[in-house]
């Protein structure tokens, strides 16, 4: 397994070398961290007397990499650790390895082509035979597996569906929160079917799940976001990146307000990212792929623990 990991990382570096994408390193420790209310972060104390400061372990290298892009780095990639507090399970370890890359001048379909090329190439080198890559929109798979409309929240129809699945707790769990319902139904009843022995890319996410993606100019209900799945395992998440600093600032503020409302640990917005966006982020698309999970899929492993040298509980 150690060998397979080393081989995979070598191949990724070769892949980007050939395409002249620059490998970069950005700090794991930073003064600010993502504001996403769904991501819990690790907090550390930096002591260099007389200065004492709180630093955060990054939940992804996104902000730092975008600052490099704004500074004119051109297309870049990074293989690094990311940290998410409290995430532990068959597919989660609180410390994990990410491959994140940004392509200047690429729109989302162009990035998806490159993702498919990379994943299929890695699979071949791991002697895994993947069937042809599939691409579907979020609302089409939602409709296909549940009959429901993902973009329009019909509370009664969603409830009826949950009851039909013998899952009455969904009603109290999700209440009248459209986003929660989407997370619930998608992760329970759709995701397990996605990418059976092939790479499946889901695009056109509902705008309420846009995260750091741009909203489609011709359809305000859709976000330019893509997720990757193989054998029901979520492998990565990409965007046609938001470059509007005002919109970014607003999303930060909304998320910070939501964190406050849910009594989650306080997070400060990364003003340096806002400044970088102000200075001008080039039009680009970017994606992050969980390499531990990719390795799981390529080696038919049942648990993420099987592909790590030492999972956190044994670290």
């Amino acid at each position: 397994m150690l060998r397979l990991r080393a081989q995979m990382i070598q191949q990724i570096r070769q892949f980007f070398l050939k395409k002249a994408v620059l490998e970069v390193e950005t700090p794991l420790l930073s003064h600010a961290v993502g504001t996403d209310p769904q991501l819990a972060f690790f907090t550390t104390r930096y002591c260099a007397t007389p200065i004492e400061q709180t630093l955060f372990l990054q939940t992804s290298p996104e902000f730092a990499m975008k600052r490099l892009l704004a500074a004119g780095s051109g297309s870049i990639f990074q293989i690094c650790k990311a940290f998410r507090n409290g995430e532990s399970g068959r597919f989660h370890n609180p410390e994990f390895t990410l491959l994140e890359w940004y392509r200047v001048g690429f729109n989302l379909p162009a990035l998806m082509d490159e993702v498919a090329e990379l994943i299929n190439q890695l699979a071949v080198q791991c002697h895994q035979v993947l069937a042809a890559t599939q691409r579907s929109s979020y609302s089409s798979v939602f409709k296909q597996y549940t009959g429901l409309d993902a973009l329009r929240f019909d509370y009664d129809a969603y409830c009826r569906y949950a009851l039909g699945q013998q899952c009455s707790e969904a009603l109290t769990l999700c209440g009248e929160d459209h986003v929660l319902w989407l997370d619930f139904i998608f992760s329970h009843y759709i995701q397990p079917h996605l990418g059976e022995n092939h790479l499946c890319m889901i695009y056109d996410y509902p705008a309420c799940q846009s995260s750091l993606a741009r909203i489609k100019p011709n359809n305000p209900l859709l976000a330019e976001r893509v997720e990757l799945f193989i054998n029901g395992v979520e492998l990565g998440n990409g965007y046609y990146e938001l470059i509007d600093s005002k919109e970014q600032d607003k999303r930060f503020n909304d998320e910070i307000a939501l964190r406050y409302q849910q009594k989650l640990p306080e997070s400060i917005k990364d003003q340096r990212l806002i400044d970088a966006l102000n200075a001008g982020l080039p039009e680009c698309s970017g994606i992050a792929i969980g390499l531990d999970r990719l390795l799981m899929v390529l080696s038919d492993s049942r648990s993420i623990d099987d592909v790590l040298s030492f999972p956190t509980h044994r670290a």
């Binding site: 995430e87 597919f91 969904a170 992760s187």
Partner: protein, 188 residues
């Protein structure tokens, strides 16, 4: 009783769900990269034995259930209740047929077994994995038969019926696996 949050849900943890004591079988952490985390839990209702699936939001909690497994000696059946005793304290418990369930097929007076107590009252009875019981009735076998293939039903002293090889006779004592109800060997 303590409460347990979803990240403490481990196989074997006993919790209260819908007012019934339950045992957690499996807990799967489900979390979209950007989205709400859920715990998808397989859980056994200890009263009915039924296994159900239930989803919780991460961080939700359940009250613990005061459920313990105690090794006890089975004493006797008074027709309505079966009586058990904790050998170290001599404390006695009684349980009706519904609670004892299929375990009754393997309980011989004085044998030991595991009694699951909920709030200090019997909830379920589990026989030990291997019991030795006497055959009280089986067809006479044909000479020369070996243990391979075939077999015949044999009624045991507790009332259970198991398949035994043809050479095993009435009044012999045999060893049985109570989890599968299968014959293991003769006991000399």
């Amino acid at each position: 009783m303590a409460t347990f949050s979803t990240n403490e849900f481990k196989a074997g943890l006993k919790v209260m769900l819908d007012n019934d004591p339950c045992s957690i079988i499996e807990n799967e952490f489900v979390k979209p990269g950007k989205g709400q985390a859920f715990s998808r839990v397989r859980i056994r209702n200890l009263k009915t034995g039924r296994v159900i699936e239930r989803t919780f939001k991460s961080g939700e909690s359940l009250e613990g259930a005061d459920v313990v497994d105690v090794d006890m000696q089975y004493l006797y059946n008074d027709g309505e209740y079966r009586h058990f005793m904790q050998p170290d304290t001599f404390e006695q418990y009684q349980a009706n047929d519904i609670i004892v369930g299929d375990a009754a097929l393997w309980l011989k007076d004085q044998d030991s077994c595991t009694v699951t107590l909920w709030n200090d009252a019997p909830l379920a009875v589990t026989p030990i994995n291997f019991v030795e019981l006497k055959i009280i009735e089986t067809d006479p076998g044909v000479r020369g038969d070996t243990s391979g293939g075939g077999g015949k039903p044999a009624k045991l002293e507790t009332g259970a019926v198991v398949r035994v090889p043809l050479f095993v006779q009435t009044d012999e004592v045999i060893k049985v696996d109570t989890r599968t109800g299968e014959y293991i060997s003769r006991v000399k």
